[in-house]
């Protein structure tokens, strides 16, 4: 829970927006290998994975048989026959693969506990990186991943992140984590880039301002309802396609929207709090947070698409906090 008066959180958010900042960890990792790895991933994920060049990554969602989102992740083609999936929670992805990998010659493993991870985010993050890693990041494209070194320590770097700013993610062996953190701290200090410690700033506040949600926010929605239709490749087969085709033929029943609360704070609004229009339930809140860039209490919600167009005034939660429905992106 973040409040507008929290100067520490504000300073952390501002550092990412205006300079650079770093922090430990961004996501879980699942390694996928085997003769059919590419074929399997292309079938279980909605975006086109087949043909993805080595060293490149792609955002995609993963659906259940009903066409509902169960995960959103980035797929990296790490090397020939080797893929990395970045997901919020690796064990769930592994269980899903267990249930759906029959007939594919594929192996997968949650390698989250083997690898440590850091993120460097912000407009000056490239400068920090140039003083940190052996290779230049100047030509690194979004979701491009490379092998490099940090002070002689093997590391892997991709251009990505979850703040909506220019940023990079660094992977290293767990045993090298302290040395890598020390090196990042030293490189970041030259640009007065702080280490972030407030989880909600870098997991919720900064991403939400830019319209970036977590997988639980999308849970059960089709990619179309979640405004992620651009990532769906209907010209290939994938798990959930049949249901998605049927959903596509109909008007969306639900809409993934933004919420702005018109009160000082949101202590009475939990995830899944009920959204009411003139006292009648029309949806649920997914998450509220304070956005320090936009200086508002903002949130995501899922509402009845027919009854709640943008601009609708609603109330949320047990104390009827007044709010307005907006686009789910603030800056």
């Amino acid at each position: 829970m973040l409040f507008k008066e929290d100067e520490i959180a504000r300073a952390e958010a501002t550092a990412v927006r205006e300079n650079a900042a770093w922090y430990r960890w961004t996501h879980d990792l699942v390694k996928v290998t085997g003769e059919d790895a590419e074929k399997f991933l292309d079938w279980i994920l909605v975006n086109s994975i087949a043909g993805l060049s080595v060293g490149r990554g792609k955002y995609t969602t993963m659906l259940d048989e009903n066409g509902g989102i169960i995960d959103d992740l980035v797929v990296f083609h790490k090397a020939e026959g080797l893929w990395w999936l970045s997901t919020l929670y690796g064990p769930h992805a592994v269980k899903w693969f267990d249930a759906h990998s029959q007939g594919f010659n594929v192996a997968y493993e949650d390698i989250t506990q083997e690898i440590d991870m850091y993120a460097i985010q912000g407009p000056n993050s490239a400068k920090v990186m140039d003083g940190l890693i052996a290779d230049s990041v100047d030509d690194l494209k979004r979701f491009q991943i490379i092998d490099t070194t940090i002070g002689g320590i093997a590391a892997i770097v991709d251009r990505g992140g979850f703040t909506g700013e220019l940023g990079y993610e660094i992977y290293c062996a767990r045993e090298d984590s302290a040395a890598v953190a020390e090196a990042i701290e030293a490189a970041a200090a030259k640009y007065e880039a702080p280490r972030l410690k407030t989880l909600e700033v870098y997991v919720r506040s900064l991403p939400m301002e830019k319209g970036m949600a977590l997988r639980q926010d999308y849970k059960g929605l089709t990619p179309y309802e979640a405004n992620l239709g651009w990532s769906v490749r209907m010209d290939k087969d994938f798990l959930g396609k049949e249901a998605l085709e049927a959903a596509q033929a109909e008007e969306p029943k639900r809409a993934f929207v933004g919420i702005e609360i018109e009160r000082e704070s949101y202590e009475d609004i939990a995830q899944n709090e009920i959204i009411r229009k003139r006292g009648v339930p029309v949806g649920i809140c997914r998450q509220m947070i304070y956005g320090y860039t936009v200086d508002k209490n903002i949130g995501f919600g899922i509402v009845d698409a027919r009854k709640v167009p943008l601009g609708t005034r609603v109330t949320i939660g047990p104390n009827d906090s007044p709010a307005v429905i907006v686009e789910p992106k603030w800056c």
């Binding site: 829970m1 409040f3 430990r24 960890w25 961004t26 996501h27 879980d28 919020l88 929670y89 064990p91 769930h92 989250t112 506990q113 410690k197 407030t198 989880l199 909600e200 997991v203 977590l214 997988r215 639980q216 926010d217 849970k219 009160r263 704070s265 949101y266 202590e267 009475d268 939990a270 995830q271 899944n272 709090e273 009920i274 649920i284 939660g317 047990p318 104390n319 906090s321």
Partner: protein, 409 residues
């Protein structure tokens, strides 16, 4: 909403007279009856031990030990246990999960028990949890202290520096407690190494936090937890538990932490079992008699259970229906053997009646409720009627009948 759409989903507890107590109301009542039983047990403790510090330390120690039981096995068993928990609650590594499992653990327990509130702060160095309500706020200050010992164990299970060691890496303070009269319960855990804080003993956990706290204004406080507000609990990582799951969980676990654990220490405060049971019966009998002293309490019960006017005040069915509602709301299976003007007999399985949590059966439930219901019967119905519990093979028969006892309590 049309009944047609919800008749299958809106469940409840049916009273002896056909009225449905809605599921949410039954759940709330279940919580409060467990808390009331706990309050009576704590009165027994106060009779047995008049030293506040001593008795509080004793229940803190036992509560901490029992909550640490999860890490009493091998290191591998602990990791398996924790990994299952992470999986169940979708807790990613990015939150430094091992360090803050106590907070994550506590949050879902609080919510299941309708201790309604919010996680104010969740950072690498500090967690602050604020509650606006607590059904257990009637138990008293020893309980508030005891919960801090449980939380300490929860933090130590995964966050401790060494496996099996109670290292107290965090300073944990219940800065405010509703059971002590504060508007909120507020628990703050702060890393000792970050803030240079002292290691705490059992009775040191009611201090103030190192950093300032956030006080939610009254207009944004909540009366009930997510389950009762929205039909499910959702944790910070999107994992959900239904109201039904929470209800079943608390109907078991509420008896464990708030009664079973402290009872281990409280029983030892008595010279012997006879003394413990003598005092327990007196306390529970008094609590029962006082339940229906006020005439409006009797009328309120009749209204709640929808008891028809044809059934007069001096009728055993009034008491029988009351007991049945308690059993129903506490999710205890039962069967009526008799329900007429001559008396009531309710059959319950001994194991399910005392073993709300299967692994920790409580004989004190039988002793306590027999005394409490008998006392209540004397004011709710009349002293002509009594409640007693007989054994019948593997069952108990709860009787409401006429009984003359020249040494009645």
């Amino acid at each position: 909403m049309a009944l047609l759409e919800h008749v299958d989903t809106h469940r409840g507890v049916e009273t002896a007279f056909g009225k449905i107590i809605p599921e949410k109301e039954a759940y709330s009542y279940c919580l409060r009856t467990i808390a009331a039983f706990s309050a009576n047990i704590f009165q027994v403790m106060r009779v047995l031990n008049d030293d506040w510090e001593d008795r509080t330390s004793q229940i803190c120690e036992i509560a901490n030990m029992m909550n640490c039981a999860a890490c009493s096995g091998s290191e591998e068993e602990l990791f398996d246990y924790l990994n299952a928990f992470y999986d169940e609650w979708n807790i990613p590594e990015l939150v430094k999960r091992a360090a803050w499992i106590g907070a994550i653990w506590g949050d879902y327990g609080d919510e299941a028990e309708d201790m309604a509130g919010r996680v104010i702060q969740f950072t690498e160095d500090r967690v602050e949890k604020e509650l606006d309500s607590c059904p257990w706020d009637i138990v008293g200050s020893e309980m508030c202290n005891m919960t801090t010992a449980m939380f300490t164990a929860n933090f130590d299970i995964a966050a401790g520096g060494e496996h099996g060691e109670i290292t107290n890496d965090v300073a944990l303070n219940m800065c405010e407690a509703r059971g002590c009269g504060n508007p909120h319960c507020r628990v703050v855990a702060e890393r000792r190494d970050t803030f240079d804080l002292e290691k705490q003993d059992w009775l040191d956990h009611r201090g103030q936090a190192y950093l300032p706290v956030h006080d939610t204004p009254s207009e944004r406080r909540v009366k009930h937890a997510q389950g009762l507000r929205n039909g499910q609990y959702t944790n910070a990582f999107g994992e959900e538990n239904s109201l039904e799951w929470q209800y079943n969980w608390v109907a078991q676990m509420g008896w464990v932490w708030s009664i079973s654990f402290p009872l281990i220490a409280i029983r030892d405060m008595a010279d012997d079992d006879d003394e413990f049971e003598r005092i327990l019966k007196i306390v529970f009998a008094t609590a029962g008699k006082n339940s229906f002293i006020d005439p409006f309490a009797r009328e309120g019960l009749r209204n709640w259970l929808d008891i028809p006017r044809e059934i007069g005040d001096n009728d055993p069915r009034v008491m029988g229906a009351y007991i049945q509602a308690i059993l129903g709301c506490q999710l205890v299976p039962y069967e009526f053997e008799a329900f007429d003007a001559d008396g009531v007999e309710i059959r319950v399985d001994q194991e399910t009646f005392t073993g709300r949590f299967e692994m920790a059966p409580l004989d004190e439930i039988t002793l306590g409720y027999e005394a409490q219901w008998n006392g209540a019967c004397h004011t709710l119905v009349s002293p002509e009627w009594s409640v007693w519990i007989d054994e019948d093979d593997d069952d108990f028969i709860i009787n409401v009948g006429r009984k003359v006892d020249d040494r009645a309590l």
